[in-house]
Symmetry: C2
Subunit: 358 residues, 2 copies
């Protein structure tokens, strides 16, 4: 038997509900390959703020660092929205990403045939969408310095941030992106704003240079404003997209909404060597927290990504993916993806059905 | 008779074709109110680069400054795409915006009943969309300093830009936005990334403070990633959106594509006192340039915005808007908005039909 240590960070809102489901599915699916898990649940986000005064306690980060992978639910909520920056749940998430050095964020967005009607896009536009956004996650304007507040020469208050990329940061995310594209349809679109921003000009230059190491991958470049349009006009044109931290934040959310089933979408954030961070795309949904209404499938599919990208356990990962499809085929739907003729279930019941399908 | 001086900047690609149409429509529509125009055509963009070596010649800027309004076609093309930054057509556009101090960019995006099928969104989602993006245009990361290239401590190449806003810049765009919302449905959504960026925190603070001067306008705040999603999920929830330069670039393009008829969408960029800059949302479309295939209606509607926002000639502006609707009702369509049962026409013929409808 193989044994892995997993740090669970249930977080806030619907986080604990979906993590409870994902944990059970992960455990069962991996057991068939003789895999055992040691789970350690730690505080993170608003839950950590309330109990420890900081959004990412040191013990959480060190436990996460020493584990084989980290599974996060969701963080944030109205209660902490007006906190000062260093006391925001979001700041804890950024500290976790930086602390784990997970520079590459993989965000698949695909439209399942079973859920094509959930998209607000016309069926012929949404059908068959299957793309992957590779977002740089530990650099750019999220972390660039100098940043802060001050006054300008006229005594006026100013707020400022720095969008900055070093060649090595671009190179390493580009390698992840080319390798990701290689496992898919070998088409990579790099998104930047190189007609205006120097940081983007360097981005384009480095990505272009690295392309020569991947002659089998077809590279194209697109400006971010155009990419935001093309995702609406014809999302099927995209296979793998690589972009910086802030553009990736915007475009991956846009892409996920195009699928119409954001409650289904997982993500993986990986580093060069240490443990990766796996989490649903969706937020903490405080309005339905504790009501057993959340869709746990994004967390469940995040557990599948954890198996695949984090532990290299592809078979167990696939077992989860197939179980999710089977559960959908058997007609089970949480409220967010419900359509007439299917069976409306809560978070827990959906989890039980997935377990049956594993 | 009233007399206004208009600087025409046909620019590149389809720019000259659509400006020729817009000029004729502008002239005819305004003539009924005894308005006369002095038009002065100047070089700009790639056209200027080829003839003068710079994308915005000094004479163009000074002529524009001394006119009552500026009507621009489009700039850019493959030919100049790999130029150095100071020799890019885009740089000329940024210099023009800065030179005219047009800090407020108004970008309407509405779905006309006649064209609802052109949207890739389902009819019930697209129908009735009518929103206005107010984008800050002369600040933020587009113009912030320091910017450039360098090497970091490890000798690695870096590229960097500065996202920076001063209180006065936020205040003045906020006033434009609140006043714009007031003339519409009195709902304003301010979009930022205040959970991460200091520049956005100041943005949110100032917009919130200014709201007290507009008690009749309902203000909400939204993070940019969520806004990118909500535009796809339910664009009708928005009336007026105000945001910074780079987020506005991305979201206004996304919003325009949601209408499905980007060839129809105009924009106005206005300053505190000097002449405004009016231009279609669409680019120079080099692939169809000179083929009489372009849709001139975005340029024509930009001329209407010029009359309304630039000259205060609301009656003449409305005459143009009604003429465009009438032309669509009579079934004339350029290729980009063509659907079965309508009459396919080129750029020139579309212009002639609009003139008949004026
Ligand atoms: C919560 C927030 C800081 C975060 C981000 O902007 O990265 C979120 O939007 C995401 O995309 O994971
Ligand atoms: C051409 C480019 C510099 C410009 C911008 O980014 O502002 C364009 O995309 C626009 O939105 O008008």
């Amino acid at each position: 038997t193989k044994r892995y240590t997993i740090t669970l960070l249930p977080g806030d809102g619907i986080g604990p509900e979906v993590i409870a489901v994902a944990k059970n599915v992960l455990q069962l699916a991996a057991s068939f390959d003789g895999i055992e898990f040691g789970f350690k649940e730690m505080l993170m986000g608003g839950a950590a703020l309330d109990l420890t005064g900081v959004p990412l306690p040191e013990e959480t980060l060190s436990e996460a660092r020493n584990s084989d992978a980290v599974l996060l639910g969701a963080i944030g909520g109205y209660k902490w929205d007006n906190n000062e920056k260093h006391l925001k749940p979001e700041t804890g998430l950024l500290q976790l990403r930086a602390g784990l050095k997970v520079f590459a964020n993989l965000r698949p967005a695909s439209v399942l045939p079973q859920l094509v009607d959930a998209s607000t896009l016309k069926k012929e536009v949404a059908e068959g969408v299957d793309l992957m956004v590779v977002r740089e996650l530990t650099g750019g304007i999220y972390f660039g310095k100098p940043r802060g507040f001050g006054t300008n020469d006229s005594g006026d208050e100013i707020g400022f941030n720095t969008e900055i990329y070093a060649a090595y940061e671009i190179d390493r995310i580009a390698h992840v992106a080319f390798q990701t594209a290689r496992k898919r349809s070998c088409r990579l679109c790099s998104v930047d704003k190189a007609n205006v921003l120097e940081a983007s000009m360097l981005w384009r230059k480095r990505v272009t240079a690295i392309a020569s190491q991947y002659p089998d991958v077809e590279l194209s470049h697109m400006y971010v404003d155009n990419a935001a349009m093309q995702l609406v006009r014809n999302p099927k044109q995209f296979d793998t997209i690589v972009t910086n931290n802030i553009f990736g934040d915007i475009l991956s959310d846009e892409a996920s909404m195009i699928t119409g089933s954001i409650g289904m979408l997982p993500s993986a954030s990986i580093s060069d060597s240490g443990p990766g961070l796996y989490e649903p795309i969706h937020g903490s949904a405080p309005d339905i927290a504790g009501m057993d209404k959340a869709n746990p499938l994004a967390a469940v599919l995040s557990a599948a990504m954890l198996l695949k990208y984090g532990l290299g356990e592809e078979k167990a990962a696939q077992r989860i993916e197939l179980a999710v499809l089977d559960t959908l085929n058997r007609g089970f739907r949480t409220g967010d993806i419900y359509s007439a003729g299917n069976k409306l279930v809560g978070c827990k019941e959906m989890g039980e059905e997935v377990l049956k399908s594993v």
